[in-house]
């Protein structure tokens, strides 16, 4: 690479705005759908683990082992079953979110004060109604703290999916390497970080709106 090549060539960005927007959209979908699927799986799983404690250690062990498998390797294992498609990226990312989300759901439910639980029971709430209307809402701040970690790391991991051609903005990272041209790489990194941090900020906002009573009480994990 020549030494006078600037880190960012603005003209390139101006020329590629529409394409960049398209890939940003793809990236966001690939990064956030796994978190959504992860939530759909972990909320019932977390409730079950909270209720039947013996279930928790095995679930935790399995999700920890999954989490310690490097993303590139996990993508490759799934290539066999789902081919070079978006699922190959989204299924491993979904599995990763579980190791953050399930413990947070369980911790959130465990953080419900015993008197509150007893009060709900005394008011005639059955188990299902107590979980849905009392325990889950109280657990929301802790659950969202987990969602924040899951979302931020999921969005930044999507780029690795580029090695099987499904990386969203990661496309510009490989493109920049092929052309020996840093602008696309820098742009992609900055856009990915911007997506992750914006998502994080929106989740903080969501937590404040959803649980106005717990403002400032929960530290982010």
């Amino acid at each position: 690479m020549s030494d006078d090549e600037p880190l960012i060539r603005w003209q390139w960005i101006a020329d590629h705005t529409a394409e960049l927007a398209e890939y940003t959209g793809i990236h966001l979908r690939l990064g956030l759908l796994p978190v959504l699927f992860g939530l759909i799986i972990s909320v019932p799983l977390g409730i079950a683990c909270h209720r039947w404690r013996w279930l928790y250690p095995p679930v935790l062990t399995v999700s920890n082992i999954l989490y310690s498998i490097p993303s590139l390797a996990l993508f490759m294992i799934f290539v066999r079953y789902t081919g070079l498609t978006e699922q190959t990226v989204m299924i491993p990312l979904t599995l990763y979110t579980l190791s953050v989300l399930v413990p947070n759901v369980v911790d959130g439910l465990a953080s419900v004060p015993e008197p509150v639980r007893l009060a709900a029971t005394a008011m005639g709430f059955g188990a299902v109604r107590r979980v849905a209307q009392v325990e889950l809402p109280i657990a929301v701040p802790v659950v969202i703290a987990g969602v924040r970690v899951a979302a931020v790391s999921s969005i930044s991991l999507v780029a690795v999916g580029q090695l099987i051609g499904q990386g969203g903005l990661g496309y510009y990272i490989t493109r920049g390497l092929q052309l020996d041209f840093p602008t696309p790489i820098v742009t992609a990194i900055l856009l990915i970080m911007l997506l992750a941090l914006t998502t994080d900020a929106l989740l903080v906002l969501a937590q404040r709106l959803l649980t106005p009573w717990s403002r400032n009480k929960v530290r982010s994990a």
């Binding site: 082992i65 490097p70 390797a73 780029a159 920049g176």
Partner: protein, 229 residues
């Protein structure tokens, strides 16, 4: 299920073919490369992360900065960082180490900080009360009590580094990722899945080593209260 067995057979064939165990392209030399990258970057990251984590945790100054750095760092796409460093600085070990260190510092830093901060203020005051200097309070009280969290941070960092060193093969470096990247470009799925299997095994070994380390170094008195990891 049948397909899964086929896959295992591919891995088995690849692992047992004697060509895999000799020369520059063999598993042992790739593994050494991989461990060299990972080990060196983890060492540097530990020095930086522990020093700042202990400092900020003990004095309580700069807590906000630590939290912001950690959050920002999680958002950095690691794959992009490695490729960018290689594009800017050329292909050699040093730039890759820089990228890997940048990745590994935040988890070590934040966990060390949280661990030291989490020590009960009464315990800290008691230590001062029996006449310990600030330095002794840090080394003999805060560090041992923070050890479970510090080790957790080191473990997370180690696993991330081992995983990301794989990605370093993409811009043309060695390490175990070579098998995956080469296998993909040659359309040789046996090579891809074989390489993945070795990386997975390595990540699990790291996990086990840190769990064992924790058993050995954490004071028995702390085990009950920190059972959750």
């Amino acid at each position: 299920m049948n397909d899964f067995l086929n896959q295992m057979e591919l891995v088995g064939d690849w692992l047992t073919s004697s060509a895999q165990w000799h020369g520059d392209e063999g598993i042992p030399s790739r593994l050494v490369e991989h461990l060299t990258y990972s080990g060196l970057s983890l060492l540097f990251a530990a020095l930086i992360g522990l020093a700042f984590g202990l400092l900020v945790g003990h004095t309580g100054r700069g807590a906000f900065a630590v939290a912001s750095v950690a959050n920002l760092a999680r958002a950095i796409p690691t794959f992009g960082l490695v490729v960018l460093v290689v594009t800017l600085a050329g292909l050699s070990t040093t730039p890759v180490l820089v990228a890997l260190v940048a990745l590994a510092v935040p988890p070590i830093l934040i966990n060390t900080f949280e661990g030291v901060r989490g020590v009960d203020p009464a315990t800290r005051d008691a230590a001062r009360g029996v006449g310990m200097t600030e330095w002794e309070v840090l080394i003999r009280v805060e560090v041992p009590m923070a050890l479970p969290l510090i080790l957790l941070g080191l473990r997370v960092a180690a696993i991330q580094v081992v995983a990301t060193a794989t990605v370093a093969a993409y811009p043309g470096l060695g390490g175990l990722g070579r098998y995956i990247v080469d296998g993909l470009s040659r359309n040789d799925y046996g090579l891809v899945i074989g390489g993945s299997a070795v990386v997975v095994a390595l990540a699990l070994v790291v996990q086990v080593v840190f769990t064992a380390l924790r058993r050995v170094v954490v004071s028995p008195g702390l085990r009950v209260s920190t059972a959750k990891s």
